[in-house]
Symmetry: C2
Subunit: 651 residues, 2 copies
C-alpha cells in the first residue's frame, strides 16, 4: 500500500506576489486571457480564424453556418475558461466573470439532451459519435470541459458548468466501462479530469471511470485497429496500428519507456500518478516511477522540454535529444509539470520539484512572448537562421513565435498553468506544509497558519517565510514547514528569527519542524551563481558541449548578442562568468551572463588541412525563456567547449 | 569562345591493371554484372522482385502478365547492359556477350513500330505516352537506352541496339524541339546521352536535340504545372510547382546554386558541361563553373557525397551538411564524377580530378559491399546504432547495405562507372596526354604512344609511367604528359629515367613536355601520410570536429574497432597517427590508422555540473569506403577534436 503524503494547495488559499511570476500572472489576466477571448470570438486582428465560439453558437442553434476548425476546437474554449477562472481568482474582474458566464450559458445550450457535448460531432457527424476514439478527441474535449467546470466552480462557486460536466460525464459513463462499450481515448486527458471531478463532486463513479480508462489502456493493443475496421471515415488518417503513439501498446503497469506523442504521454502519466495516489495503488505508482525516471533521466532536454521529434511530436530513443530539430512542445513541458506535481503527492522528493522548476523557468515559459501575444509550440535548443523554419528536418522550428496556430493547444494551456501556480508551489499533508517552489505571496494553510513569502528568486537565492497568522485563539502551532532545496544549489543556509539554524534535509527538502508563533520568520539563503552544465556522455547531440545555468535558469546565446553562426563559438572550460543585471524595456529585469570565449572562422575552402582559426570574443548569454523577444535570429543553448586539456589534466 | 582542351580516352584504348581498382573491375565482371542479370531475370535468391526483363517480354508480346516495378524499371536493364559492355571490354566473355545479344534482341522486339520504347507505357498506359514528362521518366529511360547502345557499339561493334536507339531518338526528335511539341525531361539524363549518341553517329540532329532540352529547361518555370493541368493521372504525386526539385526553376545559364534532387542536378550539369565543350558555349560553361563551385565549395561532404536531405534526395542550404541524416546517394556521387570529368575537357584543372578522386575512393565506392552483392544508396557520414534506419530523420540511413532496392538505380550505375574507369583516368588533346587518375594499366594514346602505368596508389604515392611503344617507324615522339598532382599532396618529386627532374606545375597538373623514346620512364613520388582534415567553420555539423585522411582516402571510425557511442571519442589535435597495413580476408589489403585518443563517459545523471570524464583509448580508423563490411554498428567520419588550447597558443 502507498501512503499519500501530500495534497496540492487549493488555489483559493494561495496568493501570488512574486518579483518574477507576478508579471506573468498579470500578463495572463490583462493580455493572454482577453486576447484569446477575442480570438475565439474572431475579433482579433491579424490572427488566424478560430471560430471556436461560433461552433458553439451553431451547435446551440443560435447561428447558421458550418463548423470550422480542428475537430477538437472546443477544447480551446474549455482551456481558456479554465484559465479565465484562475485569472478571476488572481485578479477578480466582474466584467470578465460576466463574460465567462455568458460563454458557459452558450456551452450549456450547445449540449445535447442526453448530455453529449462536442460541437464538431453535433454539427458535422451526428451519426458518427464515439465511432472514432482514435482521432475524434471527444473524450479529450470532455476532459477539458470537466477541468474548466471544476476550476470555475472552485473559484466562483457557480455550478452551471459543473452540472453540464456531470451530465456529459454521466453520458460517457453510461456508454463506457466494464460490461458496457469498451473504449479508451485516443488522446488522454479525460482520466486526469475525471479524478478532479471526483474530488470536486465526491461522485465515486467518476473515480471508477477514470480508473477504467487508465486500466483498460493497452489491455488490447489492437483496440484502435479493430475500431478502425468498424467505421468508414477518418479525420487525420492516423495509423491505428501505431499504438505507441498513444501509449496503448501495452497495459499501463507494464509500460517502462516513455513512447509516442509526448503530450498524450504526460497526460496519461499524470492521471496514473493521481489515480495511484487516490487509490493507494502500488503497482501503478511503480510504473509511474519507471516512466518518470525514463523521461527525466533519458529523454528530457535541459530546458525541461520533451519530445525529440516532430514526427508524431514524440519521444524517440534514449538520449536522442537533437537540439536543432527538437519538438519540445510547450504543452509537453506543461504536461511534465502536471506529472511531476502528482508524483510529489505520493513521495515528496526534490527531483519532482526540480523538474517542475526546470520546466516552468525554461521550456514552459519560453512558449510565450514577453508581450503575451505570441506563442511558441516548438521550443528548440538550437535555432539556425536560414535553416530553421525552412528546410526539413528543421521546418517546424521557428525563429519567432507565431501569433496563433490552427491547432491552438499551447497558448491556453500556458495561461491555465501560469494562472494556477499556487497549486504547484504549495502542498500539505501529514502535519507538514510543503513549499515546492520559492513563490512569493501568501499561503493560507489548512492547519490555519498563514505563511507569507518574500522571494528574490530566481535572480537571488533569498526567500523569507513569515508566519503572518495562526488559527484564532492559538498563540502557537506545531507543524513542519518543508522547503524544497533545489538540486542545483551547492550550499544553503537558514536563519530562524535571525539565528542560524540547522534542520534535517531529506530528498531535497529541508524539514523545519517547530512550534510556530505569529511573526516567526525563516530566512533561506541558497547559494546562486553561474554554473556550467554538461549533458550525460550518452547524449550525442551535446557531445563536447557545455551550457550555462544560474539557479533554475538555463541560458542561451542569441545571434543579436553574439553574431550569427553560433556553432562557431567556443566556451572555455574555466573562464570566469560575470553577471550583469539588465533592466530592459522588452525583456524586463534579468541577469545576463558574460564571459570571454572564442569564435572560430574558416578560410575559403570547404575542407582543409588547417584547423579553423579562433579569435577571442565575448560570449553573452541570456535566460532561455527570454529568447526570441528581440530581432529574430539564431539561438543556441549548448556551445562547444574548449580548453579541455587531456594531456595536462586528464580530462 | 571556349577552347576544348581535352577529350576523354576511348575505352578500348585503356587497360586497367591496378593494385586497387582491378579488384573492383573483376568484381563487376564476375559478381556484379552476373548478379544483376540474375535479379533482372528474377532468378536471384533472397532478392526483391525485379521483373525488369519480363516487362520487356510482355511488351514484346512474348509472355503474358502485367507490368511490375517502378515506371522507370527499364532503365535498370539499360544501365546493366552498359555495364556489361564495359565488362566485355575489360574481360572478354563470349557467353556474356551472347546473353547481352539476347537481351538486345528482346529490347528491339519490345520497341514499337514508330520507334517508341518504354515498357511501362506500352503495357500500362499506351494512351498516356509523353503526357507526364514530370514523372514519366520516358526521356530518362531513353537516355539510358542510348548510353547502353553507344557503349555496346563501342565495345563490340554491333549496332542492333544502336539502330534501335536511333529509331527511338528519331521518334523523340519528331515530337520535341523548336516548332514541335515543347518538352523537357522531369529527370535529366537524355541530354548527356544524346551528346554521346551524336559523337558515335555524327548525326547533328542529336546534338541539336540535346541542346534543345538543355536550353529549354527553365525557360518556362510553369511548364510542368501546365503539363499537369492537361492530364488526369499521376504516378508519384509529385508537386509540379516544385521546380527546383528538377532544376526547371530558371534557365540553365541563370542557375547559380545547386538545388533540388542531386542526381538530376548532376546529370543536367554534366550535359551542360559537355554541350558547352561541344559547342564552344562560354555562357553555358560559366554557369557550369558557378554550379561546380557551389556544389564542391558549399554542398559536398568530405567523402564526395552530395544531397544533404532525404526529402527530395536533395541539396539544401550552403554548408548544411548533416552527417547523420545525409542522403549522399551513391548515384549522386557518381553524377559528380561525370560532371567533373566533363569540366576537365574544357579546363584541365586539378580541382576536377581532385573531386573525381574524392568521389571514387570514398562516396562512390562506399556504395558497394566488398563482396559486390550488397549496395548502399545512402552514404551517411555518421551511422548510429539504435537510431539509423529506425527513427526519423535517420530512417533512410542504414547500418548495412541492403541486397537490392525497389528503385535499383545505384548498383548498375556503380557497375558502369567502375567498368569504364579508363575514361576518367585518361584524356588527350592539343598534344598533351592527361593522366587524371593514377590508374595502373596501359593507355594507347591517339598519338600512337603506348603508356604503361604501374601504380601503388592509393596506399603509396608511387607511380611510374613507361613509354612501352611509339608509332611504328618512329624512334621518338614529342608530346606532353600531364600528370595530375592531387591537392592533398604537400610535396612530390619526379624522376625521368632515374634522374630527378623538374617540370612546370599549373593548376594541379605537372606538364612533362619532352621528346619521348621507347622505354622512357617517369617515376612519380607523392608524399603520402595521414592528415587531419577540417571542415570550413561554416559547416555547423562538423563544428569542433576533425577527420583523418591519407592520400585520397577519407577515414572513418567503426564501432567494431572503437566500441559504440562514437560521439564519445575525442581525437587529439597533435597526437601522431600510426599506419598499420592489414591484409584482411573480407576487407582486402588496406592501411589502418591508429592513434591515442580519449573516450569520455558520463555518470548516471542526464545533466550534471561535472564535465564528462575522459579516459585514454586507441582510436582506430579504416578507409570510409570499407565501412559496414564487418559487424554492423555505428560509424563516424568526423570526431570531436580535443587539445585545442586557446589560452596557450591562440587557437
Amino acid at each position: 500500500m502507498l501512503t499519500r503524503m501530500e495534497r496540492a494547495a487549493k488555489l483559493k488559499n494561495c496568493t501570488i506576489d512574486d518579483g518574477f511570476w507576478s508579471y506573468y500572472v498579470d500578463l495572463v489576466c490583462n493580455t493572454v486571457v482577453p486576447l484569446q477571448e477575442k480570438i475565439f470570438n474572431d475579433a482579433a486582428a491579424d490572427t488566424e480564424k478560430s471560430h471556436a465560439l461560433d461552433n458553439f453558437r451553431l451547435a446551440a442553434g443560435e447561428k447558421s453556418g458550418s463548423f470550422y476548425g480542428m475537430l477538437f476546437q472546443d477544447s480551446d474554449v474549455y482551456k481558456w475558461l479554465e484559465a479565465a477562472a484562475y485569472a478571476l481568482q488572481n485578479r477578480p474582474d466582474a466584467a470578465l466573470e460576466q463574460r465567462c458566464d455568458t460563454v458557459i450559458g452558450l456551452i450549456c445550450r450547445a449540449q445535447e439532451e442526453d448530455g453529449y457535448l462536442n460541437t464538431y460531432f453535433t454539427l458535422e457527424r451526428p451519426n458518427d459519435k464515439w465511432t472514432n476514439l482514435l482521432e475524434g478527441h471527444e473524450l479529450y474535449c470532455a476532459g477539458h470541459m470537466i477541468e474548466a467546470a471544476c476550476a470555475y466552480f472552485e473559484v466562483t462557486g457557480k455550478n452551471a458548468l459543473l452540472q453540464a460536466a456531470c451530465r456529459l460525464t454521466d453520458h460517457i459513463d453510461r456508454r463506457f466501462g466494464p460490461g458496457k462499450t469498451a473504449g479508451i481515448p485516443g488522446h488522454e486527458e479525460i482520466e486526469l479530469a475525471l479524478l478532479r471531478l471526483w474530488r470536486v463532486t465526491g461522485e465515486k463513479r467518476y473515480l471508477d471511470l477514470a480508473a477504467y480508462f487508465v486500466n483498460t489502456r493497452g489491455q488490447d493493443p489492437a483496440f484502435f485497429e479493430k475500431e478502425a475496421q468498424k467505421r468508414s471515415w477518418d479525420y487525420f488518417g492516423m495509423d491505428p496500428k501505431d499504438t505507441e503513439y498513444n501509449q496503448s501498446h501495452r497495459p499501463v503497469r507494464r509500460q517502462t519507456e516513455a513512447v509516442g506523442h509526448s503530450v498524450r504521454a504526460m497526460y496519461l502519466y499524470t492521471a496514473m500518478a493521481d489515480l495511484a495516489a487516490e487509490t493507494n495503488d502500488r503497482s501503478l505508482y511503480d510504473a509511474c516511477v519507471r516512466l518518470y525516471e525514463n523521461v527525466t533521466g533519458q529523454k528530457m532536454y535541459v530546458t525541461g522540454g520533451i519530445g525529440s521529434t516532430v514526427h508524431g511530436e514524440a519521444f524517440t530513443a534514449a538520449y536522442d535529444l537533437p537540439n536543432d530539430s527538437a519538438y519540445a512542445e510547450t504543452c509537453a513541458a506543461i504536461g511534465l509539470v502536471f506529472f511531476a506535481r502528482k508524483m510529489l503527492q505520493i513521495s515528496p522528493k526534490g527531483t519532482y520539484a526540480d523538474v517542475m522548476e526546470r520546466c516552468l523557468y525554461n521550456g514552459v515559459l519560453s512558449g510565450m512572448q514577453r508581450s503575451g501575444d505570441r506563442f511558441f509550440y516548438v521550443n528548440p535548443l538550437e535555432a539556425v537562421q536560414g535553416l530553421s523554419g525552412q528546410a526539413r528536418p528543421y521546418s517546424h522550428v521557428l525563429l519567432q513565435r507565431p501569433r496563433w496556430y490552427t491547432c491552438a493547444c499551447c497558448p491556453p494551456n500556458l495561461a491555465r498553468l501560469l494562472g494556477s501556480l499556487g497549486r504547484y508551489a504549495w502542498g500539505e499533508g501529514d502535519g507538514t506544509v510543503y513549499a515546492h517552489l520559492l513563490l512569493g505571496g501568501e499561503y493560507r494553510a489548512e492547519n490555519g497558519a498563514v505563511i507569507g513569502v518574500q522571494s528574490a528568486y530566481p535572480w537571488q537565492g533569498k526567500a523569507s517565510f513569515c508566519i503572518r497568522a495562526l488559527p484564532e485563539n492559538q498563540a502557537e502551532l506545531p507543524f513542519t514547514l518543508a522547503v524544497h532545496i533545489p538540486s542545483w544549489c551547492s550550499a544553503f543556509s537558514l536563519c530562524v528569527n535571525g539565528e542560524k539554524a540547522a534542520f534535517p534535509v531529506r530528498d531535497g527538502y529541508c524539514y523545519i519542524a517547530r512550534t510556530w508563533r505569529r511573526g516567526d520568520r525563516v530566512e533561506l539563503h541558497l547559494q546562486i551563481e553561474p554554473r556550467r552544465v554538461y549533458a550525460n556522455a550518452h547524449v550525442r547531440a551535446d557531445a563536447g558541449c557545455v551550457c550555462l545555468s544560474r539557479g533554475p535558469l538555463i541560458y542561451c546565446f542569441e545571434a543579436c548578442d553574439n553574431g550569427e553562426e553560433l556553432h562557431c563559438l567556443r566556451l572555455p572550460r574555466s573562464a570566469a562568468v560575470s553577471e550583469c543585471t539588465k533592466d530592459d524595456p522588452v525583456l524586463g529585469r534579468y541577469i545576463e551572463l558574460d564571459l570571454p570565449g572564442f569564435r572560430v572562422s574558416g578560410g575559403e575552402a570547404l575542407y582543409s588541412f588547417a584547423p579553423p582559426q579562433a579569435e577571442s570574443c565575448t560570449l553573452r548569454a541570456l535566460p532561455y525563456y527570454l529568447w526570441s523577444n528581440r530581432a529574430p535570429g539564431s539561438m543556441r543553448v549548448w556551445l562547444l567547449e574548449t580548453g579541455e586539456r587531456p594531456q595536462n589534466d586528464g580530462v
